[in-house]
C-alpha cells in the first residue's frame, strides 16, 4: 500500500498545513529577546524614522519550530530517497562536510579580517585551488562565482578581456542546441551573441556545421562533455582544433564533470576555461535551490584575467590575497565566494582523495549505463549508439499513443516513491527523460527503480489514467501553474 510523501495534515489542528506563519501569528506574541540596553538610547532624525512597524508575523519559538519541522517533512531530499534528477548529480552529501563547515574557525570569520588572522582558511582555499586545477588540467582558479551560471559569465568575461587585450573583439559564442539554458543567458549577459551548432544523428556536435559557423568573429565555444545527452563528444580534439584555429577559446561547462573524474581532464581535451559545480560533482548540498559554488579554473595564459583577488602563497610560507592584477576582469562576488560551501568541497575532495575521485567517476558511469540498459526496452534512448556516461536521456514518445506525456511518467514515479528524473530537457529530445543516478546509489536501488519505470510503461498502456492523474499519494496533487501566473499571489 502506498502512502503520501510528506508529513500529515492534522484536522482540527490549528497548525495544519498549509497554514502560513502569518496565519499562526497573534498580536503581541514573540520569540526574540535582547539584553536590556546598557548604553544611553539614541534618537534618529525624525524624518528618517520608520512610521509603521514592519508587518512581520508575531509567533513564538515553538510556533517556528513546529512550522518549519513540518515544512521540512513535506520536502523530499537525497536523505529521503533516490533523486535521479538528470544534470544535477544529486549524490549523497557527506555529513562530515557539515561538521567541517560548522567549525567556528570557518563559520565565524569576517570577510574583512586582516590576512594574518585568517591563515587557515586562506591555506584551505589555496590547497583546494591546487586540487581543482589538477582535476581539470588547468593552471589557476577563482572561487568568487557563487554557482555554475556565475562561473559561466566569469569565463565569458575572461574571454572578452582576452580578445580585447589582443585588440580583436569578437561577437559570437558557439553553443550546441542541447545546451543548458544558463549557457545562452550567460552569453547574452557577457555581451556576446549566441551561435547555435546543431547536434548530429549521434547526438554529438555536428562537425561540418561547426566548421561553417566558425569565422573570425567567433570568440569561443561553450560546451559540456559529456554533453547534456550524457554522451561523450568523441570529436572533442577536432572541435578544439577548429575553434582554436579560428582564434577562439573553449569553455567547459562542468555540470557533467562527475562522469570523467580522474579519467579525462578538460585541459587535456583542449579547453581553456572550466567551471565546476561543487553542488553537483563535489557533493555540497544544494539546499533546495542553493547555495552552490562555481569555481572557475583557467589555462596559464588566461590567469591574468581572473577576478581579483586570488589566493597566493608567499615566499615566507604565509598565505594572502593577491590584489595586484591589472588585467583582472574585476569582481564577480561581493566577497570571496561561497567559502562555507568550499569548505565542504575541500572535505569531499581530500576525503575521497585522488584515488577516490576516480572511483566516484567510474561508479557514476557504471550506474547510469546499467540503469539505461535496464529501462531502454520501455523508454528508448534518444541516441542508442552512444554509450551513456554518468546519465542518459530516454524518450517517453512510445507512450504518446496512449495519451501519456513524459510529465505523466514523472508524476507516476512520485506515487511509486521516487523523485522523478529531469523531464523535457534537453530540448532537442522529444518527451525527454534525463536520468542521472549518481555513484552513491546501490544496485538494489537501481534495480527497484528500473522495475518501477517498466511498471509505469505497462500502466501507460493498460491504465493510462494512473499516470495522467498522478500523483495521488502526495499531500497536494498537480498544481495549476497557469492560475499561479495569472492570479499571481507571490506575497501573503
Amino acid at each position: 500500500m502506498t502512502e503520501p510523501v510528506g508529513a500529515p495534515v492534522r484536522v482540527g489542528d490549528p497548525e495544519a498545513f498549509p497554514r502560513t506563519l502569518r496565519n499562526l501569528a497573534r498580536p503581541g506574541r514573540r520569540a526574540s529577546a535582547f539584553p536590556p540596553l546598557d548604553v544611553p538610547p539614541t534618537e534618529l532624525p525624525s524624518d528618517q524614522r520608520r512610521e509603521r512597524a514592519a508587518a512581520l508575523p508575531e509567533v513564538s519559538e515553538r510556533d517556528l519550530v513546529r512550522h518549519y519541522t513540518r515544512l521540512a517533512q513535506r520536502n523530499y531530499g537525497v536523505d529521503t530517497g533516490f533523486y535521479p534528477l538528470g544534470s544535477c548529480s544529486m549524490k549523497y552529501n557527506p555529513k562530515v562536510a557539515e561538521t567541517a563547515a560548522s567549525l567556528p574557525g570557518f563559520q565565524r570569520l569576517h570577510p574583512h579580517q586582516p590576512e594574518h588572522t585568517v591563515q587557515g582558511v586562506l591555506e584551505l582555499l589555496w590547497r583546494l585551488e591546487r586540487a581543482l586545477c589538477e582535476v581539470t588540467g588547468m593552471a589557476r582558479a577563482t572561487f568568487q562565482p557563487a554557482a555554475g551560471a556565475s562561473g559561466e559569465l566569469t569565463g565569458l568575461l575572461i574571454m572578452r578581456a582576452f580578445h580585447s587585450r589582443n585588440g580583436d573583439p569578437r561577437r559570437r559564442i558557439v553553443i550546441p542546441d542541447s545546451a543548458h539554458g544558463t549557457n545562452p543567458a550567460s552569453v547574452r549577459m557577457a555581451g556576446y551573441e549566441v551561435a547555435t551548432v546543431p547536434s548530429d544523428a549521434r547526438g554529438l556536435v555536428d562537425l561540418s556545421a561547426l566548421e561553417k559557423l566558425v569565422e573570425e568573429d567567433v570568440a569561443g565555444l561553450m560546451i559540456t562533455n559529456p554533453n547534456t545527452l550524457g554522451l561523450f563528444e568523441e570529436d572533442i580534439l577536432e572541435i578544439a582544433r577548429t575553434i582554436h584555429g579560428a582564434g577562439g577559446l573553449l569553455y567547459y561547462d562542468g555540470a557533467n564533470l562527475n562522469a570523467i573524474l580522474g579519467r579525462v581532464r578538460p585541459g587535456d581535451m583542449g579547453f581553456d576555461i572550466v567551471h565546476m559545480n561543487t553542488h553537483k560533482t563535489f557533493a555540497t548540498p544544494h539546499g533546495g535551490g542553493g547555495p552552490g559554488a562555481g569555481p572557475v579554473a583557467v589555462a596559464e595564459r588566461l590567469a591574468p584575467f581572473l577576478p581579483s583577488p586570488v589566493v597566493e602563497r608567499r615566499e615566507d610560507g604565509t598565505f594572502g590575497w593577491d590584489r595586484d592584477r591589472p588585467e583582472s576582469i574585476g569582481r564577480i562576488h561581493g566577497f570571496h565566494g561561497n567559502v562555507g560551501v568550499l569548505v565542504r568541497a575541500y572535505a569531499y575532495v581530500f576525503g575521497n582523495g585522488g584515488d577516490g575521485l576516480r572511483e566516484v567517476g567510474e561508479r557514476a558511469v557504471l550506474n547510469a549505463r546499467y540503469l539505461a540498459e535496464r529501462v531502454r526496452s520501455a523508454f528508448p534512448l534518444a541516441h542508442p549508439d552512444g554509450p551513456a556516461m554518468h546519465e542518459f536521456v530516454s524518450t517517453a514518445k512510445p507512450l504518446r499513443p496512449h495519451g501519456v506525456r513524459a510529465m505523466d511518467v514523472a508524476k507516476r514515479l512520485i506515487d511509486l516513491g521516487y523523485y522523478p528524473s529531469t523531464v523535457y530537457f534537453p530540448l532537442v529530445v522529444e518527451e525527454a527523460l534525463m536520468v542521472e543516478p549518481t555513484e552513491t546509489e546501490s544496485k538494489e536501488t537501481l534495480d527497484a527503480f528500473a522495475e518501477a519505470m517498466l511498471r509505469v510503461a505497462r500502466e501507460a498502456e493498460e491504465e493510462p489514467d494512473l499516470l495522467r492523474e498522478a500523483p495521488v499519494t502526495t499531500p497536494i496533487r498537480r498544481l495549476d501553474e497557469a492560475l499561479a501566473a495569472r492570479s499571481l499571489k507571490i506575497c501573503w
Binding site: 520536502n75 547555495p291 585522488g354
Partner: protein, 440 residues
C-alpha cells in the same frame, strides 16, 4: 579501507553490473573515448583519508583562524557580527531542506516552496514593496541585477551610482557592466553624503542608505529626483535598519536590494550569503531568478509553485532576465526563520540597540586624543568612519587585531567601526582603551 567512500558498490555489484553490460572491466566504460584524452596516470592529489583524519586536518586549518567568538568584532563594511539564534539553523539546517534540489516537482517540494513564499512575503513586509524573489547570490550581485532590471525597464543605458555606495558594489557594476555595455557613473558626495543629483537621461540612480560609512543619506530627495527624471530609484539597504529607519517603500524607492547575511546567516568569511531584491509590481516580469507563487491543486487544495518562469533562462534562454539558476535558497529559508524569530518588536529593539551602541562607541572613541569622526555632524546608524591624526587606519586595524579587536575595513583613509546588538558597553569601553594605546 582508509579513504572516504560513498559509492556503496561491493565487488560483486561491480562484477555483476559489468557483466550485465557485457563489459569486462571498468576501463571498458571509457573505451569509446579517444586515447589521447584519457589520463594515463593517477590524479596528483593525495589518496583519500578517513573521516577522523580529515576532521583533524580541518580542525588544524580552522585553528589557524581567529574567529569572532575569539576576537571581539566591530568589523563592518557589508557583513556584521549579529547574533544568530539557535533555532535558525536547527530548522533551516534540516536535511530535507538541505539535500533537496530546486523545487522542479512541487508535489515533493512544498516545504521549500512554502518557506520561500513566506520569505518573499516577509521581505515585502520589511521593505514595504510588493515583489520579492527567492534570493540572488549576494548583495553585490543583487545591486547588479537591480541595475540591469532598471535598464531593461527604462530602455535607458546610463547608470548613476552614488560614490558613497560600497566600493565592492561599484567594482561589481564595472565588471558586469563590461558585458552588459555600461560604465557606472559616480555621483559625488559632500561630507560623507551624496549630493542630491540633477538626474539626466539615466536608467537608474543607485543610493546606499545607510551608506558605506554608515551615514544616513538624503534618500527621499535623491529618490524623488531620480523618479522625476524617469529613472528607477534603487535603494541599497541594511535589512536590520528597517525597524528604526523608513523602509524603501516609504522612501519611494522603485527597487530595493540588500546583502542578506545579517538575516540569520553566519559570517563564513564572506559566503554563503544571499542577495535580497524587492521591487514594485510594475517590474515583476523583469525580476531575475526564482519566484514562488500560491495556487491550487486539482482537488482545489492550496499549494505553491515556481511561477513566471517565462522570465528565466531554462525557458527564455538568451532572452532571460538573468542567467541565475542555482541561488541561495537555504540562506533565504534561514532569513525567513530569523525574521519571524525577530518579529516586529524584535526588529525595532535590535535597530535601537545597534544605533545606541554605535552612538556610544563614536562618543567614546572620538574622546581618544588623535581620533576623530571622518564625517562629523552627519547622522549614522550602526557604523561610522574614524580618521586618525598620527597613524594610518590600516596600521590601527592590524594592531587592534593583535589586541583582540576586529575593526574595518579601511575605506578612503578612514577606518570603519560597526556595532551590533552583540557588543556590550564594556567591550566598547575596552576598545576605546585599546585604540588609545594603539594611536598613542
Amino acid at each position: 579501507m582508509s579513504g572516504l567512500r560513498f559509492a556503496p558498490h561491493t565487488e560483486d555489484d561491480v562484477r555483476g553490473m559489468l557483466e550485465a553490460l557485457g563489459l569486462s572491466s571498468l576501463d571498458d566504460l571509457y573505451r569509446h573515448i579517444p586515447g589521447q584524452v584519457l589520463l594515463d596516470r593517477p590524479l596528483n592529489i593525495p589518496s583519500g583519508v578517513s573521516e577522523m583524519e580529515l576532521l583533524a586536518d580541518l580542525s588544524d586549518l580552522s585553528g589557524h583562524n581567529r574567529h569572532t567568538d575569539d576576537l571581539v568584532s566591530f568589523a563592518g563594511g557589508g557583513a556584521y557580527d549579529h547574533y544568530v539564534p539557535a533555532a535558525v539553523w536547527s530548522l533551516a539546517g534540516r536535511s530535507e531542506f538541505q539535500t533537496s534540489y530546486t523545487p522542479y516537482q512541487p508535489e515533493l517540494s512544498q516545504g521549500v516552496l512554502q518557506a520561500l513564499f513566506e520569505y518573499q512575503s516577509m521581505i515585502c513586509d520589511l521593505t514595504g514593496l510588493e515583489v520579492s524573489n527567492a534570493s540572488l547570490y549576494d548583495g553585490a550581485t543583487a545591486v547588479v541585477e537591480a541595475v540591469s532590471l532598471a535598464r531593461a525597464a527604462t530602455g535607458r543605458d546610463r547608470v548613476l551610482v552614488a560614490d558613497t555606495v560600497d566600493p565592492r558594489y561599484v567594482e561589481a557594476l564595472r565588471t558586469y557592466g563590461r558585458g552588459a555595455g555600461y560604465e557606472p557613473e559616480l555621483l559625488p558626495s559632500r561630507g560623507g553624503r551624496a549630493v542630491v543629483p540633477v538626474v539626466g537621461h539615466v536608467a537608474c540612480v543607485v543610493l546606499q542608505h545607510p551608506n558605506v560609512f554608515g551615514i544616513l543619506e538624503r534618500a527621499r530627495e535623491v529618490f524623488a529626483a531620480a523618479r522625476a527624471a524617469g529613472a528607477r530609484a534603487i535603494h541599497v539597504f541594511d535589512p536590520l535598519s528597517l525597524g528604526v529607519l523608513a523602509p524603501p517603500g516609504e522612501l519611494d524607492a522603485d527597487i530595493a536590494v540588500a546583502e542578506g547575511q545579517v538575516l540569520g546567516n553566519h559570517l563564513a568569511y564572506g559566503g554563503p550569503y544571499l542577495g535580497v531584491i524587492a521591487a514594485r509590481m510594475q517590474d515583476v516580469r523583469r525580476m531575475p531568478g526564482r519566484i514562488v507563487g500560491e495556487t491550487v491543486d486539482v482537488d482545489g487544495r492550496p499549494g505553491y509553485v515556481l511561477t513566471l518562469q517565462a522570465r528565466e533562462q531554462h525557458i527564455r534562454r538568451e532572452k532571460a532576465t538573468s542567467n541565475i539558476c542555482t541561488n541561495q535558497t537555504l540562506m533565504a529559508i534561514a532569513a525567513a526563520v530569523y525574521l519571524a524569530w525577530l518579529g516586529p518588536a524584535g526588529l525595532v529593539e535590535l535597530g535601537q540597540a545597534c544605533a545606541a551602541k554605535a552612538a556610544y562607541a563614536a562618543e567614546r572613541l572620538t574622546a581618544v586624543p588623535g581620533v576623530r569622526l571622518a564625517h562629523p555632524d552627519v547622522p549614522f546608524f550602526k557604523e561610522f568612519a574614524l580618521a586618525f591624526d598620527r597613524r594610518g587606519p590600516a596600521e590601527v586595524r592590524d594592531r587592534l587585531a593583535d589586541r583582540g579587536y576586529l575593526v574595518g575595513p579601511v575605506f578612503e583613509e578612514a577606518l570603519l567601526v560597526a556595532c551590533t546588538e552583540r557588543r556590550s558597553r564594556q567591550e566598547i569601553d575596552d576598545l576605546a582603551r585599546a585604540v588609545g594605546e594603539v594611536v598613542a
